[in-house]
């Protein structure tokens, strides 16, 4: 296996892009990423996306996006793994380069959620769960996570209010991100007084619905210097899966897929959680963010509220978490989220993250969850 580098990235702002289509969004990110490198074209395009079939009436988006970007690679296809589509696409692209099959691969993700009408967007996102044994009973993506949150609160005797502090921190970070969908600070009350969606989850426990695209160029590490001024090493990477139906899990107080994927990725990179300078974690809901902190080894179980209050997840603490604002504030363009996380870490490790910069960051971890924990992809990046 060859060592693999990221040699260029591109991201659009996450937003409700009423004027722009699926292909235009990925076109902007893809062209920007490729232009940062000296590569004239790519050997493969592997793109993450969840909802194009439902909301844009479009399949075969690998061909569509390659065509729009003006190249005809050996292979171009979509990877769908619900919210983890971007992370899963990245793993496929990594594998293609590491194996020696391809030298230059464009990966990333794109999501165009605002083309859904009526309740179609919520319905499409819900399809991450088991249609016959979860959705049939009127549960949605939010309600499944609400059950996990209530279970957590009951088990650890953590008050509902404590989760609001996680949202407050994400918005404090996201306010410094020029590409964030919700770049403003909020108060605890904003979360607690917002609309109840599915008890105990309120609107401000949730990531917003938005559009966006992020693209990444992968190549062998030994070639990266020749083709790019800024590159980072993919030092560790793994996916892990669990049952699709949350009721079938061994337990609901953690996501086993995150624990297993993180363990494998850390081992591959020869690091421990204490070595991580900056992490982009998957916080679809506040409870998802909290479980991720625990499952990645950054936080003692059931103690997140005390650690947030002590500044453990800000610069100078245990690890800087989601300087981008995370899914909550940067936004969650579902199939693109995993690609945004890795692109943001690329900026951090090459010292170009602007107001979000974590001083002297050298190890970054991205964690991208699909469904309500049915799969997780963890990627470790290292400054070169």
């Amino acid at each position: 296996m060859r060592k693999v580098a990221i040699a260029g990235i591109g991201m659009t702002k996450v937003d409700k892009h009423w004027k722009r289509s699926l292909r235009e969004l990925f076109g902007e990110a893809g062209a920007a990423a490729l232009s940062q490198t000296g590569f004239p074209t790519v050997d493969a395009l592997i793109v993450g996306n969840m909802c194009a079939s439902d909301l844009s009436d479009q399949n075969n988006i690998g061909a569509l996006l390659a065509d729009y970007l003006g190249f005809m690679p050996n292979t171009a296809y979509r990877v769908e793994a619900a919210c983890a589509s971007g992370g899963a696409a990245f793993l496929a692209a990594y594998t293609a380069v590491a194996s020696g099959m391809y030298d230059v691969v464009m990966t990333g993700g794109v999501e165009k959620l605002t083309d859904g009408v009526g309740g179609n967007t919520t319905l499409s996102l819900g399809k991450a769960a088991d249609a016959e044994y979860e959705l049939f009973y009127g549960s949605s993506f939010v309600s499944l996570n609400a059950m996990i949150m209530r279970h957590y609160m009951n088990h650890y005797n953590v008050p509902r209010d404590a989760f609001a502090d996680f949202s407050v921190l994400m918005h404090k970070n996201g306010a410094r991100n020029p590409l964030a969908q919700l770049p403003f600070e909020i108060k605890r009350e904003t979360v607690l007084e917002s609309d109840m969606i599915s008890d105990p989850i309120t609107l401000f426990d949730c990531a917003p619905v938005g559009d966006g695209a992020a693209a990444l160029i992968l190549c062998p590490l030994e070639d990266a210097k020749k083709y790019s001024d800024n590159f980072v090493e993919v030092a560790g990477i793994s996916g892990a899966t669990d049952t699709i139906n949350i009721a079938s899990r061994e337990g609901l107080l953690s996501f086993k897929s995150t624990i297993v994927a993180a363990d494998r990725a850390y081992k591959m990179a020869h690091i421990s959680p204490a070595d991580v300078d900056v992490a982009e974690i998957h916080d679809t809901f506040t409870i998802t963010g909290v479980l991720s902190l625990e499952d990645l080894g950054f936080c003692e179980r059931g103690k997140f509220h005390k650690m947030i209050a002590n500044g453990a997840f800000e610069t100078g603490g245990v690890v800087t978490v989601n300087p981008s604002g995370g899914l909550k504030s940067r936004g969650h363009p579902v199939g693109a989220t995993g690609a945004y996380q890795i692109a943001e870490l690329f900026l951090q490790l090459t010292g170009r993250a602007g107001k979000m910069q974590v001083p002297d960051a050298s190890i970054g971890v991205a964690q991208n969850i699909g469904g309500s924990g049915s799969s997780t992809y963890v990627t470790v990046l290292r400054r070169v």
Partner: protein, 131 residues
């Protein structure tokens, strides 16, 4: 929902019938094609118990498409007496009175109507145990 798709799930949804592994006895709900415990692909029919305990729940206020007329309603995860854990609705109780740990029992109820001319979908839900 197509009629065949609804019809073929009736044993699970209306009668709590599932399968267990013929080799190691592990119960699979929903049914699987291969036993996650021992790897066998031989299964036999198995009837789940009708009583259990509520593990967790939520009150749905912002429903998915098709359930617009139903809120507020309670979706819960129930641990049955044999240890099998299943997702369904909690019914015949005010949402505010639902508690984690409460004893529940299976009851046959309507879930949703498919518009004005589609099928009316029914399934097992769980209500507070009546002694």
């Amino acid at each position: 929902m197509s009629v065949p798709r609804y019809w073929r799930e009736i044993p699970r949804r209306s009668r709590l019938e599932t399968v267990r592994c013929s080799e190691c006895g592990t119960v699979a709900y929903p049914p699987r094609g291969r036993c996650g415990k021992c790897g066998s692909n031989k299964f036999e029919n198995y009837k789940l118990p009708e009583k259990g305990e509520l593990v967790t729940f939520t009150i749905v206020r912002n429903p998915p498409k098709g359930f617009e007329k139903m809120p507020p309603y309670v979706v819960g995860i129930v641990k049955l007496e044999d240890g099998t854990i299943i997702t369904s609705q909690i019914t015949d109780v005010e949402p505010e009175d639902v508690k984690i740990g409460m004893k529940v029992e299976a009851v046959f109820r309507k879930v949703v109507e498919d518009g004005d001319s589609g099928i009316i979908q029914y399934a097992i839900k769980f209500r507070p145990l009546i002694k």
